[in-house]
């Protein structure tokens, strides 16, 4: 499979997982809450395609895409969301709290940045060139511990790539009601270089992420990557206060699957789609069949 088809397939894995999840949520198979990665697939795949085995990934409440792009098993994630012993964390963690290999997510916001900083300090001290990728959202910028952490990340030159997925909305609050000034400057004020890209195109995000990851690894220092992106789904299951036409326009303009899919022939696209949808359906069915 060529590179373009492979990236499409990885993003489609996330898309199919989340779509089926939302579809089945209303049937009562899943309980609690969930935050889907719809619209942000290119970020997860674009960044995590470039990590190495010992690298550490820290994610947040919107973590399914990151988990799947990291290599996590859709079956184990479905089982987790169904609260089954075979789930990623035995059903204890649920949608937001996943740990597998070097992947850690939590439903908390700013605190995870401090935790990620500590992990980067650990990897730096081990001297094995491993780095930390820390995904955060624009909403997280409101919490004070973020700035304590950025200060120490820079002070101690910790090898961390902070990926800020700016989807311009925190639950229901638009960024313009919550964020003053320029986001990049918040990093730059601490001496952390910030690259910024406004894109949902994986072919733009991926090479940038690759270069930044290389820099963090080789120079053992921090870097921020701000991706202006779009949340195509609701915050969790049904809480979207944006007007329908606004969301519809985002689907037209910012869907990473449409943007990248157009580079593939219809035949290739459709064969990948059939394959991945069947794979995800099978993961769901097998998870459902696991013992409670």
């Amino acid at each position: 499979m060529n590179r373009n088809a492979e990236l499409f397939q990885k993003m489609l894995t996330i898309r199919s997982f989340e779509t089926l999840l939302l579809e089945k949520f209303s049937t009562g198979i899943f309980t609690g809450t969930t935050h889907t990665s719809l619209g942000q697939e290119a970020n997860a795949v674009g960044v995590l395609s470039h990590i190495q085995e010992n690298d550490v990934v820290v994610s947040n409440h919107r973590c399914h895409g990151h988990f799947l792009a990291y290599g996590g098993d859709p079956l184990a994630l479905y089982a987790e969301l169904m609260g089954k012993p075979d789930g990623v964390c035995g059903g204890v963690g649920g949608s937001q709290h996943l740990h597998w290999r070097n992947f850690y997510s939590s439903g908390l916001q700013g605190g995870t940045v401090a935790m990620a900083a500590g992990m980067a300090m650990a990897e730096k001290r081990k001297g094995d060139k491993a780095i930390v990728i820390d995904f955060m959202g624009d909403g997280t910028l409101g919490e004070g511990i973020v700035y304590e952490s950025l200060n120490m990340i820079s002070l101690w030159q910790l090898p961390i790539l902070i990926v800020l997925e700016n989807n311009h909305i925190a639950q229901t609050t638009p960024a313009e009601l919550a964020i003053a000034g320029d986001i990049s400057q918040r990093f730059e004020a601490f001496g952390i270089p910030a690259a910024r890209i406004d894109s949902s195109d994986i072919l733009e995000i991926s090479p940038l992420a690759e270069a930044l990851i290389g820099r963090v690894r080789n120079e053992s220092r921090p870097q921020a990557l701000i991706i202006d992106t779009a949340r195509l789904g609701t915050h969790s299951k049904g809480d979207d206060t944006r007007p329908g036409e606004v969301v519809e326009a985002l689907w037209q303009e910012r869907d990473p699957l449409t943007i990248h899919g157009s580079r593939l022939s219809e035949g290739v696209r459709s064969s990948i789609t059939i394959k991945i949808e069947a794979y995800i359906q099978a993961a769901f069915t097998r998870a459902l069949g696991k013992e409670d």
């Binding site: 550490v56 204890v92 605190g111 401090a114 500590g118 992990m119 650990a122 511990i145 200060n151």
Partner: protein, 347 residues
Amino acid sequence: MAENSPTTVLSSLNQGLHQSLQDDPNVILLGEDILDPYGGSFKVTRGLSSKFPERVLTTPISEAGITGIAGGLALRGFHPVVEIMFGDFTTLIVDQVINHITKFDAMYHGQTSAPVVIRTPMGGRRGYGPTHSQTLEKLFLGVPGLRVLAPFHLQGDDPIGSPGKLLYDAVIQGSSPTLFVENKLQYPLKLLSGDDIKEYSITDRGALTQSGLPFYELHLKGAPAADITLASYGYMAKLALDALHQLAYQHEIFCELLVPTQLAPFELAPLLSSARRTGKLITIEEGTLSLGWGAEVLARASENLGAELKSARRIAAKETVVPAAPQLEAEVLPGVEDIIQQVREMV
């Protein structure tokens, strides 16, 4: 080792940290103003940065941040120790402790844990005023996954002394997140040994608990059966011991003092056993009364002893700020006279 044997709680704790850095290359100390020559606000870390400069880090005034960083270090295999300069500032680390560090073990289904040790001095009687004198550990008692320890000023058989040994083991074993509660007036206390304690019968009942950590039972040698059980920890246990002595010699009231070094999880078998014998129990703590350590101890004593517990009281600080002026401070914090008075009323 003899010439290095610690003589005070402070030197014992210092030696415990020293030994842990020496024995375990994964130990890292983080804290504000902990570098030499200053060596920390209360000098517990004195000498450590000179000996282990790579692993003793001074930090910005970022209690939440450094506690979070310690959590990340611990998740990735290190044994971090955080010093929070004043116990009052532990309010700044609550999210890190409750929602992060203590969550990982259970939340990630036992796949990992973050064995951070957080040390901090609580307590008043130094005239530092309302925001530098509080005893706040009750806020952390009962947090699932968090162990709360408090040393007692006894010299054990080990070369680093019992307070230092308690700290050393918490750091080295790296078994679970730990809040290690020190007390400002405890630091200069001479470690009790030999002649200091020849009047007392001291038994460690720790074997009756799951943790096995020291749980001391003290009474005067040759005294009649105790009339009442006193329960206390940390510096207040020193005041309780003073009260016990005076009650015996001046009022012929005989007490048994129970001193846990593990406050949480609540493992009270030695204490309950004493209270069953005496039928009377007083808890003594320096924090404010409501929902404190004593409240939980009495609730458990009541559940376990039923009618065998004939009467019970709590001694604690008044529910107000700790004033700066010494005479005002003394009115708020419980002292030896308060303990004596309460015991006399109860017997």
